[in-house]
Symmetry: C2
Subunit: 254 residues, 2 copies
DNA sequence: AAACATTTGTTCGTATTACGAACAAATATA
DNA sequence: TATATTTGTTCGTAATACGAACAAATGTTT
């Protein structure tokens, strides 16, 4: 989206960049670290950090700034405005119990798949990603499932993906991906086999919203040492499709 | 936290207020609605909305602005910097399966209990709250559990709570609450019986972090028509305590 | 379809807000 | 203790965000 420069509030962007500078690797930072990571002057970074602290989003122990749970309020707005999470959760719990694997739902935002719901099993070794996690859409089964069912989105994004080789299996050109998406559309599920990460396989099925639109997909991730590709398909596909049909039947009425 | 007025970035606060204007009830809003809710001029509200849209946090269908999943990025920083979610989840899944009830973990932020992890069962009728949800700490079993184990926090907050009568069972004065918290500390669990909401009971147990500090509590909510108070205690308390011990044993090493 | 009402988009002069350089104070390190 | 580094403060001012006023677009009523 294009806007006039005079309609852009620079301070807001800078402030958000300060918030985004914090991460799993950088849980607590000094003023100087934040200033460096955000490319702001120390004085500017300090003002933003103090503003966040004043508003309750950050705390300071005298040296390091860190986030407080109030930050959840900023993301909660999105979560609370989504119906799919409540609709899908019971069916995901059932599925997860039935196949004894974790499962997640995601959607495409920009060029990434974003995880928005997750249901986990109590197995010690399990593969799953937190809500809010992002991965390149074209390298994930969910991303491919959604792209395969959205001609417009597919055409829009095919030229924008970064076709970088992550493993020896990674699809690294547009044409191969296009063929794969066409295949996925026909077969009704997507399977990614060690393309994003060695040792990781994923299968996905589509969730239909109103007007047969596919915005979300359901996935199960599994380490390669647990099941073969065919075993995954045999064990997971039908229950996943059942869950998706149930979720879809409610979503389509919204 | 006190800061100098000259250290406060007003545009950031205004921008965050615009973001927070969106909610479950107000999923999509016009420019005028946002301006009214935030008490900004139309021109100012418009600039913030356009900035968010430009940055990808909001979208506009020509008339209404609404949040995009990119907003999750703003809260994800907090989630990704918390170890407890990953540590606790497997034990919560096991617990949930064992007692056949949903369970959650929360912490106190300001005067509220904030839900940060949730594990749900596939029962049609289930009581649970989304991650990020907030409730008055003093009226929830988790809040009371944490207050009971934190003398300093208790003393700090006792005078700040809003002792409003929500049901006929609600504790409405500081002294009664103080007595209840002392009792909870001794018995090692908290039970709230229709004080927050008629028809709702909750039980909580403490999770210990490093230095025996109790920052988090585990809870199970249940409608009153399913179990009596004694049945809840008999069925849930011991498995919950087991889960907490397991989670605590990992947390205490961090 | 026309008239009227309401909302959104645009412009631009300027008040005010956020800026950062420079220095002081505090803290960390050798 | 001396030195290095980081944080806190000040303040003149550049520039940024402001909103009033008007134009354009959209919505509502007759």
């Amino acid at each position: 989206m294009e806007i006039k420069e005079s309609d852009f509030v620079q301070s807001l962007e800078k402030g958000l960049n300060v918030l985004l500078a914090f991460s799993n690797e950088k849980k607590a930072m000094t003023l100087s670290e934040v200033a460096e990571r955000t490319d702001l002057s120390r004085a500017a970074a300090r003002r933003f950090l103090l503003t966040y602290s004043y508003l309750g989003y950050m705390q300071n122990d005298g040296k390091h700034f860190s986030l407080t749970p109030k930050v959840l309020d900023l993301g909660y707005n999105y979560i609370s405005s989504m119906d799919i999470i409540e609709i899908a959760k019971p069916f995901m719990v059932k599925l997860s119990k039935e196949v004894e694997e974790s499962c997640s739902i995601g959607l495409i935002e920009n060029k990434d798949i974003v995880y928005i719901v997750q249901e986990q099993v109590s197995r010690v070794m399990t593969v799953s990603l937190k809500v809010g996690s992002r991965l390149p859409a074209h390298l994930t089964s969910m991303g491919r499932m959604i792209l395969a069912m959205n001609e417009g989105l597919k055409n829009e994004l095919l030229d924008k993906f970064d076709y970088k080789q992550l493993t020896e299996n990674t699809i690294v050109d547009k044409n191969s991906l296009c063929l794969e998406l066409n295949k996925i559309k026909k077969q009704g599920y997507a399977f990614v086999d060690q393309e994003l990460e060695v040792g990781l396989r994923a299968i996905s099925t589509p969730i239909f919203s109103k007007n047969e639109k596919v915005i979300y997909a359901l996935t199960i991730l599994s380490p390669t040492n647990r099941f073969t590709k065919n075993e995954m398909i045999k064990r997971f596909l039908e229950p996943m499709q059942q869950a998706c049909i149930q979720i879809s039947s409610i979503l389509e009425k919204q």
